[in-house]
């Protein structure tokens, strides 16, 4: 028997900054993409958070409370963005992909703008720089080639008069299935996957963080599984983010969720250092990275934090 090594699942490069991944269908959601969701309350904090090793990373920006970032004056500006949708694993262009943009940074009703990629995976869209948005990428479900990929809180930097270019990523059905199964989890079609990366204050990967998930009322769902990666590859034995900063939550019920990132406080307890909010759709991958000191998962690029001309 001989086979090639399974590909390196470079989820790292797909999460966070200007990339997205994975997929889902809208099963169990209503016309707005909403779902009643909510937690069954069967989970506990201790199910997710137990790290005792101290984190490795720059947490100097974190003063004990989480903040939100706003764009500096003049940075929100409409631009014509050239985008490209790439397969997360193969890096091949994804043609005839439907890309929906939600400028309210959440899937609240129909998309504000929808484009279709050409044969080279390219598209063009009018978009506001320094203004967080959510996008959703789908392909013809008959082909079963990709899963619905959603990234929340994506932000395009303001580069002056230059029209920005931006890469979005689509996760194949295979990769969607492979990541959890390598972790021993068979993904359920009526639930979704949430994944992202943890960043420190310097924008580097934050090591030693654990994630948990709860609904708006603070209720923690049961059966959600949190796992971590090593060198961009899912690892069953890794208990918290490694140097790659990657984390994944599997079998997340459909609905609106809060993801919280904790590190050990050195005193036997844990400190909340990052947080994000997102909507989870069934049979999809929902990307939302978390940033040290940030309350809502929206991390402005440096170009958006100083006044723009």
């Amino acid at each position: 028997m001989r086979t090639l090594m399974l590909m390196s699942l470079a989820l790292a490069s797909g999460c966070g900054d200007d990339k997205a991944e994975d997929t889902a269908s809208d099963a169990a959601t209503d016309a707005d993409g909403d779902a009643d969701g909510g937690s069954d309350g069967g989970g506990t904090f201790e199910d997710f958070i137990s790290v005792t090793d101290e984190p490795t990373g720059d947490l100097t920006c974190f003063s004990g409370s989480l903040v939100t970032e706003q764009p500096a004056a003049g940075c929100v500006a409409q631009r014509s963005m050239y985008g490209e949708v790439l397969d997360f694993q193969e890096d091949d262009p994804v043609d005839e992909a439907t890309v929906e943009f939600f400028f309210e940074d959440g899937i609240f009703g129909p998309a504000d703008t929808t484009v279709t990629t050409d044969a080279n995976g390219m598209f063009n869209v009018e978009i506001n720089t320094c203004d967080p948005y959510t996008y959703r990428i789908t392909t013809d479900p008959v082909l079963d080639a990709t899963k619905t990929t959603i990234e929340s809180h994506d932000v395009v930097p303001n580069q002056g008069v230059v029209n920005p270019s931006h890469e979005l990523q689509s996760v194949s059905s295979t990769t969607y299935a492979l990541i959890p199964t390598l972790l021993g989890v068979s993904p359920k079609v009526d639930k979704g996957i949430v994944a992202g990366r943890a960043y420190d204050c310097a924008g580097n990967n934050l090591q030693g963080l654990q994630v948990m998930i709860e609904d708006a009322s603070g209720s923690i769902p049961s059966d959600v599984v949190a796992k971590y990666f090593i060198d961009d590859f899912p690892n069953r034995n890794q208990a918290y983010t490694s140097e790659d900063g990657l984390w994944i939550l599997m079998d997340v019920p459909v609905g609106d969720w809060v993801v919280k990132g904790y590190v050990a406080d050195g005193l036997g307890g844990h400190t909340l250092v990052a947080r994000t909010e997102l909507k989870v759709l069934a049979d999809s991958i929902n990307i939302s990275s978390i940033y040290a000191g940030i309350e809502d998962g929206v991390k402005m690029p440096p170009e958006c934090l100083t006044p723009c001309n």
Partner: protein
């Protein structure tokens, strides 16, 4: 059999299943699942040995072809071709850039000579490929060089009838074997037990699942697999129908002596330390009683049928084709012809694991010609040379006096510790039943699925065959840690290269007696991939996996095989069950 604590039964949603003849839970002595002679329906093995043989073609006929033209889509015969570009001629279909002929099963499109009209799959916009197993994913069949076969030899003595089937495929799961057996029963074919072994052909269709278009995409063509099952049944039926009193001859050949300066390296490049090769090729010949026509010849030898390597889109059974052809028809060597024996020839895979391969071999054939490139000429050189060695040895053999027939079979469970294999099951790449775990829970080190499989012990006269459900590393069969089976002529490679990462620590290697010693008959054969293909069966002392990404990433040094194995518990369990079978055979002699 692993004992299962009652607590685990209570915790599991699915009851832990013990196979027939499983754990010793009572005072009753252990008994194999099948005992012939002894069981109802095969109560005796008296009288002369009867033998019948048949060969049925299993080559797929329904597939579409592609153009291996690389990123620019331009091939050498196309206008504008200058030189091969990236991906051109790599035998893999690049769906982004390489075209396929959407002409359906018959590969004929409108305008082609003999076009009969649209057929299945034609103009459906999909590439209806047959994927080739063995190396990379995404390698489609484009043509057929030589047919693939289901070759059967049936043996009968008294009321005991056993059939051995050799399939020119990569592997054949036990669940499929069980299906075939049920079909044989339904067809009313009077056979007590069917053993199916795969040659482990790396130049034929995917029969397990992991060699599809890409990793994670099941590569088995299910309609063809269904055809194969029926072909096997037909092959068994024909062989049983052809049973006749037979004479038996048995010999073995030390293939390391064919070209002394190369030793075993003339045929096998052992790519995993410790470099241990079972140099003995087992050969049996059955002819009609009274010196009649040849019914069948049987050759047992451990080597990967992959002389064509991974740059090949033509179906072939690799060196096995030429070996069988030589046994049947002979070879007209420049140095003098060698007569074939006629009849039907079968190649049985043996200890093929870690890593018995013709890749990297420079084979010198009987005429002294040397072949090293991955070509049909190289496969031919290997097959014809091995066949010639077998025929020469048989020419001086004497008939076996009153050969007996006996079959023992035992079902067993083996755990799937390999995370990659677990993922393949969860994704549906591998389609077979798993047992003894909580299907509603996530897989962990405490919730490990198991597979039901089987090992057989078959005696035919002086030949004892032990089937193992995968690719046994030769050292488990013959030992050789003292260098006694590192016969590589003038090559100077050490048995273990201590400069490599994680070298085998031979001081930890198991002491004998090893399986072939324990089998204790004049001729002892391992039937590799017998009734199953569960990957490499690796000695526990030298089982090393990556700590970073266990089972998926290779550990340093010579530890590729671990990534394609069930796990470290397989070899000890195979050893344990082999000893049970051998022990039972000794006690019930």
């Amino acid at each position: 059999m692993r004992r299962v604590l009652p607590l685990m039964v209570l915790l599991s949603c699915d009851p832990v299943v013990e196979p027939d003849g499983g754990a010793d839970t009572s005072a009753e002595p252990w008994r194999p699942t099948v005992v012939c002679p002894g069981d109802q329906g095969c109560d005796s093995a008296d009288g002369p040995l009867e033998v019948g043989a048949a060969a049925v073609v299993i080559t797929p006929t329904c597939y579409e072809r592609f153009y291996d033209c690389g990123e620019d889509g331009v091939c050498p015969d196309d206008e504008g071709w200058v030189e091969a570009d990236s991906g051109e001629g790599d035998a893999e279909w690049d769906k982004q850039t390489e075209a396929f002929e959407d002409c359906g099963c018959d590969r004929l499109c409108e305008g082609d000579e003999g076009y009969p009209g649209p057929d299945e799959g034609e103009a459906n916009g999909e590439f209806d490929a047959i994927w080739i197993a063995g190396f990379q994913t995404g390698r489609p069949v484009n043509t057929v060089h030589d047919d693939l076969w289901a070759r059967t030899i049936a043996f009968q003595q008294g009321t005991t009838t056993v059939a051995i089937v050799s399939l020119d495929v990569f592997g054949y799961f036990f669940d499929d074997v069980q299906e075939v057996r049920a079909m044989v029963d339904e067809a009313g074919i009077p056979v007590d037990h069917v053993i199916i072994s795969s040659t482990h052909n790396h130049e034929g269709p995917d029969t397990l699942g992991q060699y599809g278009l890409q990793i994670g995409k099941r590569g088995v063509n299910d309609p063809w697999m269904a055809e194969v099952k029926q072909h096997i049944v037909n092959s068994v039926a024909e062989a049983v129908a052809a049973l006749q009193p037979a004479e038996m001859f048995a010999v073995e050949v030390d293939i390391s002596k064919a070209v002394p300066e190369k030793g075993t390296r003339n045929f096998i490049n052992d790519k995993r330390d410790p470099r241990i090769v079972d140099e003995m090729m087992g050969v049996a010949w059955f002819r009609a009683a009274g010196g009649g026509e040849t019914i069948a010849t049987l050759v047992s030898f451990g080597n990967h049928p992959e002389a064509l390597a991974h740059i090949n889109n033509a179906i072939t059974s690799d060196f096995a084709h030429y070996l069988r052809e030589t046994m049947e028809q002979g070879v007209d060597w420049e140095s003098g012809p060698v007569e074939g024996l006629g009849g039907m020839s079968m190649y049985l895979q043996a200890s093929v694991g870690g890593m018995m391969t013709p890749l990297g071999v420079e084979v010198t054939n009987i005429d002294g010609d040397v072949y090293s490139a991955a070509t049909f000429e190289k496969a031919e050189a290997i097959g014809q040379s091995l066949g010639t060695l077998a025929l020469r040895e048989l020419s001086a053999a004497s008939p076996v006096d009153e050969p007996n027939l006996r079959l023992l079979a035992a079902e067993m469970y083996l755990p799937i510790d390999n995370h990659s294999f677990q993922a393949m099951f969860l994704m549906g790449v591998f389609e077979r039943e798993a047992y003894n775990y909580d299907k509603t829970a996530n897989l962990t080190d405490q919730n490990v699925p198991e597979l039901l499989t089987e090992m057989d012990l078959l005696d035919i006269g002086p030949v004892r065959m032990l089937s193992v459900p995968g690719e046994l590393l030769p050292e488990l069969a013959i030992g050789g840690y003292d260098g006694s089976h590192t016969n590589i002529g003038d090559y100077t490679d050490p048995i273990v290269d201590l400069e490599k990462e994680y070298p085998a620590d031979l001081s930890l290697a198991p002491e004998g007696p090893y399986l072939k010693d324990q089998m204790a008959r004049p001729f002892n054969w391992i039937i590799g991939l017998g009734n199953d293909e569960l990957g490499y069966i690796i000695p526990e002392y030298n089982f090393v996996i990556s700590e970073r990404v266990p089972f998926i990433e290779e550990a340093g040094g010579d530890h590729y095989e671990e990534t394609n194995s069930l796990g470290p518990r397989t070899a000890p369990l195979v050893q344990e069950w082999a000893e049970k079978l051998i022990g039972y055979a000794a006690e019930s002699q």
